[in-house]
Amino acid sequence: MADDRIFRLKIISPDRLFYEGDITMVELKTSEGEIGIYKGHIPLTTILVPGIVRITEPNEVKLAALYSGFVEILKDKVTILAEVAEWPYEIDVNRAMEAKIRAERRINNSDNEVDEIRAEMALRRALTRIELGGK
């Protein structure tokens, strides 16, 4: 009866169709907190924040990094629109480390609010990359 729990996930980024497949569960980080989605979830549109998405296929678990975007959840279909999406093997951990240090420095030194927000976003992206890429 495993087939009953399967639904379709699509992850679309501007430059490619990042992922498409039949899965049993997907876990996401949204602006309101982390959520896990099974088949039959109530219809929901919500905003993503930089984080790791965990895709549970019937036989395999896949991880990917998503940076800002939103997700549309329907009963048997989930569509994620992500501005940037990366698989672990596409991540350069060393670069992310550098970006992290840069962003931290900028947060400490800046007195401009806009800069600070931007640096914080950069820091969050870097942390996501490090977390996923280090695995």
């Binding site: 430059d15 602006s31 975007g69 629109l81």
Partner: protein, 288 residues
């Protein structure tokens, strides 16, 4: 005799021009293929984005969101996407013509230029160029579009500009490219798509998290960015398509001229031989 040399020189010059146009055609064909795939790939993203935003707006009804009403300011921002290089037939002229012929008065327009050709033309016509992003068009990436949209949205939020337009060449297929002037902000939904959405929407009651208004706040900038990005990749594809066509016709024109000149050249050569013969025969006759 001199005319024979002249014709020859002319022919050689046209031949080398033809070589150049032929090479340019090949280059733009390759570039077109690349740009076309990119345009097609970004299309899915854009289509979903459009669908989601229209359904959200249809649902939220007439909420009084700042992005949905025109700003106080009379100023209008126009993002003009042209190319950095010429020799693309009417490609650049079509986009700039669209702006000069539109009902946006010259004094109220702020141009955000992407592409040097359009920028130079509009600057000459007395339009105010706010910012120049011409480097972007060589290899547009999503980040560029995000930067541009952030800039215009900032201006919009500050009340510096009341409306935002986008002028670009949309790519239908390899031979047909349509210059388009599109209103980005305030977001306008035409009746048709509204109706379409409401029928599908009745089936599913969509929830929003965070609240619709807040979600709109976050999604509309993304929507604008995706529109700009889509326009950029389509413009690149159109540019190369237009150049390919222009170069193709240039090459065949050169071909025509060359065959014409060859004919003339041969005729002149034959003429000079005949003349020489006549002279020799006349000379021989005179001696005997």
């Amino acid at each position: 005799m001199a005319s024979m040399r002249d014709i020859k020189r002319r022919k050689v010059s046209i031949q080398s021009t033809q070589q150049i146009t032929k090479a340019m055609k090949l280059v733009s064909t390759v570039k077109l293929q690349k740009a076309k795939t990119r345009a097609e790939q970004s299309k899915t993203y854009f289509d979903y984005m459009y669908k989601t935003v229209t359904s959200m707006l249809a649902k939220s009804g007439n909420i009084n969101h700042p992005y949905l009403v025109a700003g106080e300011s009379k100023k209008k921002a126009v993002i003009a996407i042209t190319s950095n290089r010429g020799l693309a037939g009417g490609y650049n002229a079509n986009v700039t013509k669209l702006i000069t012929n539109s009902d946006i008065p010259k004094e109220d327009a702020y141009i955000y230029a992407i592409g040097r050709k359009g920028k130079d033309f509009l600057a000459r016509r007395g339009y105010e160029i706010k910012t120049d992003y011409s480097d972007v068009i060589n290899e547009p990436i999503y980040k560029d579009a995000a930067e541009i949209s952030k800039e215009v949205l900032n201006q919009f939020a500050k009340g510096e500009i009341g409306e935002i337009y986008l002028a670009y060449t949309s790519f239908k297929n390899t031979v047909s490219h349509i210059p388009t002037l599109m209103k980005l902000l305030p977001v306008e939904m035409n009746e048709e798509s509204n109706n379409e959405v409401t029928t599908t929407d009745k089936l599913t009651m969509m929830n929003y998290e965070p609240e619709e208004e807040e979600a709109l706040n976050m999604i509309i900038p993304k929507y604008i960015t995706s529109l700009i990005y889509g326009a950029l990749v389509e413009a690149v594809a159109s540019e190369n398509g237009a150049r390919m066509q222009a170069m193709d016709s240039a090459t065949s024109n050169a071909e025509e001229m060359i065959s014409d000149l060859s004919l003339k050249y041969n005729r002149a050569r034959q003429g000079s031989i005949t003349q020489e013969l006549t002279e020799i025969i006349a000379g021989a006759n005179a001696i005997s």
